[in-house]
Amino acid sequence: MEKKKKKKDRYDGISRRDFMKKGAVAVGAAMTSGLVLPKVVKPARAARRKYILIGRPNPSTGPIASFGEPTPWVDERAVAKINKDGGIYIKEFGKKVPVKIKIMDTESNPTKAGEVASRLIVKDKVDLMVFYHTPDTVNPVASICERFKVPGISLDAPLEPWLEGGPYHWNFHAFWSVEKDIVPVYTGMWEQVKTNRVVGILMANDPDGVSWSAVFKKLGAKLGYKFVDLGRFPYFNKDFSSFIDGWKKQNVEILLGNTIPPDFATAWRQCQRLGFRPKVATIGKAVLFPSAVGALGGDLANGLTTEVWWSPHHPFKSSLTGESARELCDAWMKDTGKEWTQPIGYKHAGYEIAADVLRRAQSIDKQTIRNAIADTNMDTIVGHIRYNKEHYSRTPLVGGQWVKGTKFPWELKIVYNKEHPNIPMTGKIFALS
């Protein structure tokens, strides 16, 4: 028995050289056929479905999930509205067809976002991609759309990092710029408070922190501000006392920050404990969302200033539902019991643009849709959208301040609107000390 087995094994064995030779031929043949044949053999797979499909990669979990939170509430509402009268007329079908969306989670991870976008394109065969929220989602998905030649509409990620991936052919983007919008709004708010113009920088070592501090130091110096920059700090830093000491020594009266919420909470609490009380504290990212502001505890949030890209006070209307910004926020609060957040408007605007584009394109041909996006010229709930040669459209930015609210613990008042006077001020900025 033993002997037989041995013999059999030897018989099975194939010599290494033999294997290599046969293998090489097989590989060669397979690859040539793979490269040449698909164009000849593969039957044209015509889409047999009777609807328009929009791909929606969304950060539903992970560090930037608070941006993605209004999905699917906004999405389902908007799509229901688009489909109310049977949807959108498409030439290829010769009739009105409904719009469907497919939402997939990016886990706030750019690698995953790229995989998810590829899958939406090749498996689900989306006709159009609509995506939002920070460079971690927008950059990878835009790249994938370019590769597969699928039209993409994106919003809600600063322009500068997005432009790094250009020039774009298939993608169109709308949001504000750090250099042209954030700096004027922040310094504009500081101008309204009497200070010694000495700015302490509290910025994390991440894409935003690094680019914001560089931009501010470059442009702020021209406006007569002096910056006390004690360096970037890593996420979840526990001790800011050396920063605070440095600011106190240099008599800092303005605090400029861009951090994730937990880091700002730690730093701001230590500021109070160590008796550092600047006259103005303007913080990006960390105090965008009411939940993060409330988490600071006590009265610590009172008077913090930040950028406002969208609010119920914005005088814009939805082209889809006719709702004003206020009405959209009210509907959100009624349905979820939660305070409004800034991404809600931008999420809604994405569908406004998509619906407008599809109505004008009347086709699911990708090139036609792409050209229709390029021709976009419309008013949305986040302002006017008209893409320029570089495929982006700047949206308005104003400044806001958190104060004690009546309906919710903290409410954001608009206190600066110089560049966009059509957005009404709802409060007057006050100094922290």
Partner: protein, 310 residues
């Protein structure tokens, strides 16, 4: 089963090699991801399963090589596949440099050491102006390769990694490795050159992981330090290898399939995806502590790619 080993593998390989002919675009994407994750998990398997080098720092090679590809194509206009190859060699250089320090450590200290290296690289790249800090880089060659080309590159990596691990384990080094895995001190006394074998495997691992990461980022286009050097990568590789069966060549082949399938399927169920992945991992570990293929082997003796010579 063993009798039909080569025909089965041959059919499997030809099947994979002709995906662009018979498969839809989605099958192609699926197989592409499958091959890439297979190559990387095979290499982690080689290190952790056979060489007792429990590396938690595979992301160091992934990120380093990915960045090498990005910098070479963007800043120097190097041909895309040449830069992938150079990225692989950079990854080996990194491994050599790392080995100066971490090869003085054993077991869990080695694991922590590799992880620390990856974290150091993360800090370095996110503070390095040349690579635009944490903003990330787009890999934009003048002539972007087609999906079919990228797929073949990934197929070469997947099949190549599996073949490499098989050949290594069937060689003299492999015998030494398995002796070493069972008892390091005794095997050294018996004449196994422990240091050299470990270093060899570490370098092979870094080379193939680096090459694969290069192909991965050619596919991904966008690279950003916080995710490129994230421990998430190693977590995925550990998941694949543990589920499939550590210390078996078939393990990662099955594990990768399960992982890619799950990650594709679960992305639609955003809020529960991680929960489900966790439950599946725990269930498999409880029911089959040595992984799917490991348990199958224990129960039925099934092994198609056993490095053992009967």
């Amino acid at each position: 089963m063993v009798k039909y080993k080569w025909p089965i593998l041959g059919v499997l390989f030809v099947g994979f090699a002709t995906v662009p002919v018979w498969g839809s675009e989605y099958v192609l994407l699926f197989c592409l991801l499958y091959c890439l994750y297979l190559a990387m998990s095979q290499m982690w398997n080689l290190l952790a399963g056979y060489t007792s080098l429990l590396s938690l720092g595979q992301q160091a090679f992934i990120g380093f090589s990915g960045y090498a590809v990005a910098v070479l194509t963007n800043y120097y206009g190097v041909y895309i596949w040449l830069s992938v190859l150079i990225g692989g060699f950079f990854s080996v250089l990194l491994a050599l440099f790392m080995s100066l320090f971490i090869f003085r450590m054993r077991g869990i200290y080695f694991a922590i050491g590799t992880w620390i290296f990856a974290e150091m690289l993360l800090l370095w790249f996110s503070n390095w102006k040349y690579v635009k800090y944490g903003t990330g880089l787009f890999i934009k060659p003048p002539h972007p390769p087609s999906m079919t080309t990228i797929y073949y590159a990934s197929l070469i990596m997947g099949a190549g990694a599996t073949a490499a691990i098989y050949i290594i384990l069937r060689s003299k080094i492999g015998l030494g490795l398995m002796a070493m895995r069972d008892d390091e001190d005794v095997s050294e006394a018996m004449g196994v050159e422990i240091f050299r074998s470990k270093l060899f495997c570490f370098m092979v691992g870094s080379f193939i992981t680096g090459l694969t990461a290069g192909v991965l980022y050619v596919f991904q286009i966008f690279i950003q330090p916080y995710k490129a050097f994230a421990i998430d990568w190693t977590v995925i590789l550990v998941f694949i290898v543990i589920i499939g069966g550590i210390g078996t060549i078939e393990g990662p082949i099955v594990g990768t399939f399960i992982y890619v399938l799950l990650s594709q399927w679960l992305a639609e169920y955003a809020h529960i995806s991680l929960l489900l992945l966790g439950i599946i991992a725990i269930t498999i570990i409880l029911l089959a502590p040595t992984g799917i293929m490991g348990t199958l082997h224990q129960k039925t003796g099934f092994a198609i790619l056993s490095p053992r010579r009967l």
